[in-house]
Amino acid sequence: MKKMKRIQAAALASVMALSLTACQGAGGKSETQGGSTAAATQKETEKPAGQTTAAAGKTKISITFRNDGSDVLKKWFEHAYETYDKKDSIELDIAPITASEGDYFAKVALALQSADTAPDIVCEDTFQLPSDVAAGYLTNLSSYLKDYKEWNDGTFYGALVDGVTYDDGSVYGIPYSTDTRGLWYNKDVFAAAGLDTNWQPKTWQDVLDTCKVIKEKCPDVVPFWCNSGVATGEATSMQTYEMLLYGTGEQLLDNNKWIVKSDNILKSLNFISTIYKDGYGPSLSKVLNGEAGNIASREYLPKGKLAITLDGYWMTGNYKETGAAPWPEYKDKLGIAAMPTSEGQAPGSVTMSGGWALSIPNLSDQKDAAMDFIKHCMSYDVYLDTIIAQGNIATRTDIAKDVSYSSQPFMETCTGFLSGAFYRPRNSQYTTVTTHIQTMVESVVSGTSPEDAMAQYKSDVTNSVGAENVVEK
């Protein structure tokens, strides 16, 4: 009898232990494989387009994007729908995902695996695109583009068309925004610190020197802000680390192998480390927060609590009347300087460029209607309104010539940065590597030495992409 009890106890214990993995390990994924591919073929072969109809007999198309707290994208789709001539036969379901950037990509990847959850249009960051194409989540748009006049007559910028073209030469998304990055600074703070309000640093050291002056003269002001945490996701990789790394003359990849150890990586990390060690950066609770970018651009910079921030052009979208933090005088109070290369070597300044695209999931059952709606969203008038509201750089050359667009403050400078801009590697492993970059940067910011952080990065990347795909310099 006693033995029986022991066995029971042991069995109970192991069952409880097992439940640990059952809850966490399998939760999201048991239904993701296999079943979805079967569903995919079924959908494509058996279901004629237009079968899913809404209650009123209308065709329903759903559209998914990331809700980042401003509603410019939502307004874009609403406005596009209002002016849509097929409004009577189409019903629009606006289904934003409220999540941090990293979680957004995970949620989208999960949603795209099942016909029940896949939207008909999805907003994809162009860095995530190759990975999702490789996974078979997105529709090859090439056949839909044959009769898309603007696509074929060179209206869209060539470099951006390349950005949505996969290795197989097919197009998987219509780019709707691009961007450049630079050093934004508050001229009032610069004036108070006795600095020239027409600022253009030549080297990284110039930036640090300026920070030093600001810290001495205006002790209440945070001198420098850059996205530095895991929570800010891709912004940390691109706006901070890659802006620095590419400014040293090095890139993430060398001959298609990931560079995991180099003097230039160390140099970039040392810059970040100096910012925080010398007290030029914001408090960690502000910058390691998922809202860090918005705290800087919507709160600190306009209020003169921050001197310089390394961020993208879209930031100015916040300051417009329609933006999240209207700042009527931003045109005069704000300055933009190009991010210098590390020692001022040619070409003198650097910027990364990315952007977002509208794609159609492979499991969408309304591909024709979705493509038609995308074309309408990207039509001249509808698109002009949103690209100004978004504060992004347009992907259509004809919009770039429109006065209401080109006369926006800083537009000329930021579009100018675009020539010679660097793009992130079009490599499906980037989505994984970028998360290791974020961990590395956050480690440095929170006190780990750059050498240790790089060793960690090397270990992480090597494990993820395989030893045959990495190189040391």
Binding site: R6, A9, A10, A13, S14, M16, A17, L18, S19, L20, T21, A22, C23, Q24, G25, A26, G27, G28, K29, S30, Q33, G102, D103, F105, A106, A109, Q128, S131, D132, A134, A135, G136, Y137, G229, V230, A231, S283, L284, S285, L288, S428, Q429, T431, T432, T435, H436, T439, E442, S443, V445, S446, G447, T448, A453, A455, Q456, S459, D460, T462, S464
Partner: protein
Amino acid sequence: MNKKQSGLLEEAKKSVLLMPSVLLLLVFFVAPILLTVYYSFTNLALSGENARQLKFIGLSNYFTMFKDRTVRISIANTLVFLLGSLIGQQVLGFIIALNMRNKNRVFRGIVGPVFLAGWIMPEVVVALCCSTFFGDSGTLNQIFSFFHLPQVEFLFAVPMLTVILANIWHGTAFSMMNFQSALDGVPADIEEAARVDGAGPFQTMIRIVLPCIKNTIATNTMLNTLSTLGVFGLIYMMTGGGPGTKTLTLPIFMYRQAFISQQLGYGTAISMILLVIGIVLSVFYTRIMRND
């Protein structure tokens, strides 16, 4: 119908009645576990080429794991978090239970629910409460500034301690309740006898009370171990596993690998470590229980 036959019938009846629950367990519990084990041997990914073609890759996730520095860091973090939470929850729970013993019902009725509040709150609310309590301009720092003490960025300066304290606050009531009922079961006459024989309160505690509730301590430790190993939401919401890797425990690391780095197969393999730790500790506790 003889006695043996009716016994068999009884057994058959029992089995039939048990079938639905056995079936449910198999489908929703055993199958996912086996699937998880299987996925840990595959290249399952959320996106990228691997998401299209699920391949069996043998032990390669496990080999990667052994070379992975972050795995070692997160195992260490998990053990620190576990040990801190266990000691804190049990010692505190025991002290509270002891102090509430033999107090009148009104006292128990007021004090008990106060501690229970932390336990019945959902993890999200606990994380939110603790974040605001330990935050930069949070309650604790307000108290510090009232006494002219220096301000501390708890979530960044001592992140591990902070999440452990939050977990202790969340879990203490559970230990308290277990110990309360166990202490109520300690026969008063044995204690009385010990006292008559000249044992002081401390000796009574060590020699009489603790041995009497030994089994409860072991069970409680095991339950707490298993629930603490699985803590995800609390840490994820308070620190996100950061700053850097300072509060990166296995569940958080697993989530990051599986859903943020999009390598589900590798994430699943990491969950196997958690399983192994859980089993090893459970067996260890059951062995202790056995030795009475």
